[in-house]
Symmetry: C2
Subunit: 309 residues, 2 copies
């Protein structure tokens, strides 16, 4: 199978209670690709960067088998840059700087080789671009997974967002976004409303409080692993999504039962991501470490109850 | 086996986004007893009330097999009264009124028949009283479970609280309390510090985000059930503790593996509690409903991963 992701490749500068970084490589598609590369052997990226980018970072992705030929490099332009500072609880952060740079003229064009992807993971970008990506595919992928954020839920973008949501199979957003999109505080009610908007599956990411997968009248919950320290949460949601899609791509099975496993693998990948700044930890993982981490998740939640009836 | 609980039996007046109540029966020991009565056939309460209390409520508990003879009734005095208003998120609340009344002169004296209890669940009261309760038992119970709150972590009470904690087997507190007690933000670090204070087990209750059970280097997580609406969270933590201890008492097994099951049953009971005001929902449960609810928890978290190694 193959996994195509469209999203940002960027610079971040991050400050957490544990330290701060200069400009390091980030962006949703970067985290997604690193994470998915541990599962899928065909990961393609479509993105845009300036020629200020650290090209060695693309080489590292290529060495992991990621196809980066869909990343457009704009000569004389600067890459998207975001800087933020996390609060002590790591669940909230202040954005210090947002320089859109090349992102302002991002016009994703899929290379022909990408047009028959099995799984499409569209990162959090302008929903008009998300639709444009979907429309470029020769045939509908087996699975379209969509991320978005509150910014696109404003009147100017909401009609396009609703169209993109209608076309996806899996919408993956966080709890605040689910509440805003549905205008419901209860996540169960929010999920019902959002599933009625089109997606067959809804993933609600709750950060350190885990993730919920809704499908028809069923719901599955995966916790986040309790960690000594969350060093840097940047990219955890994208790493989760990358692991989720990578696992589905590897196992060639998009059933609800297999999505449960994919959520556990995605959660395991996210638990590594937050152990270091940026993508650092994702660069050195072994398959044994991933399997051991998944074992930690099994130990964390599995219990053995024989019901009386 | 037998379960003894010591704690408040009281009046509450509650306001939530869904409505408000006049004075209704509440108090930790009330919720604990209702919840435990679905599992243990010998639940004993030690508490104190005024003669303004609704004695029909005690009759209802007696009909469920709860021994209320350890509840002292102070003539001409008023019962403990608490009034609070929940915010929309249901995780935070403002206390509107606290009238300690009879609680100010609470001096728990165990009836002789209670002095050989197998499980002792000491609710959130002055730690000096908690110690006094423990010291009255003829022999050490198989399990002592202790609840407390941030109020007792102030300098005036902390030495007594530390002594009570040292003597318990299971400390059951919420996440904010665990952080305050340990002075650690990370719950993993907090748990390590708190286990070093004496308890063999630590339960950290996270409300709608579930509960963690720590023991030595192991950790177990149970989610809260995603609900349409949390109607009234009052007593959910006590209902959880009552179901936890009741299940352990019924199954006569205080191993870590069985505590996992007990936490699921406690979580199931708490999920019923929040569906109505006060103890209302706990009064009408059937065993079939409880088993069905536990099945919902199994469906919520169970997945099937075969590790590669």
């Amino acid at each position: 199978m193959s996994l195509l992701t469209v999203g940002t490749v960027a610079f971040d500068a991050i400050e957490t209670p544990f330290g701060k970084t200069d400009k390091i490589v980030g962006g949703a598609a970067t985290y997604i690709a690193w994470s998915a590369s541990y599962f899928s052997n065909k990961v393609n990226i479509v993105s845009v960067i300036g020629d200020d980018f650290d090209m060695n970072e693309l080489e590292l992705l290529k060495k992991r088998g990621v196809d980066t030929s869909g990343i457009e490099i704009k000569k004389g332009k600067k890459s998207f840059f975001w800087s933020g500072k996390y609060h002590l609880d790591m669940n909230s952060r202040d954005t210090l700087v947002t320089e859109l740079n090349v992102l302002m003229e991002f016009n994703p064009v899929l290379p022909d080789a990408y047009k028959e992807s099995d799984i499409l993971l569209v990162g959090n970008i302008d929903p008009n671009l998300q639709i444009k990506v979907i429309e470029q595919l020769d045939e509908r992928p087996k699975l379209i997974v969509l991320d978005t954020m509150n910014f696109w839920m404003t009147p100017a973008f909401l009609p396009a967002l609703m169209k993109a949501i209608e076309q996806c199979d899996v919408l993956a957003i966080n709890d605040a976004e689910a509440r805003q999109l549905s205008n419901e505080y209860s996540l169960v009610k929010a999920a019902r409303k959002i599933l009625a908007m089109g997606p067959k599956y809804l993933i609600i990411k709750k950060g350190e409080h885990g993730a919920l997968l809704f499908h028809e009248n069923e719901v599955f919950f995966a916790p986040a692993l309790p960690l000594e320290d969350v060093f840097d949460p940047t990219g955890a949601g994208d790493t989760f999504a990358g692991g989720f899609c990578g696992y589905l791509d590897k196992t060639r099975d998009i059933s609800f039962e297999n999505m449960k496993r994919a959520i556990i693998y995605g959660s395991a990948m996210a638990s590594f991501c937050v152990e270091r700044f940026g993508t650092e930890r994702l660069k050195t993982l072994s398959h044994q470490e991933i399997e051991d981490r998944v074992k930690d998740f099994i130990d964390l939640v599995q219990f053995d109850i024989v019901l009386e009836d």
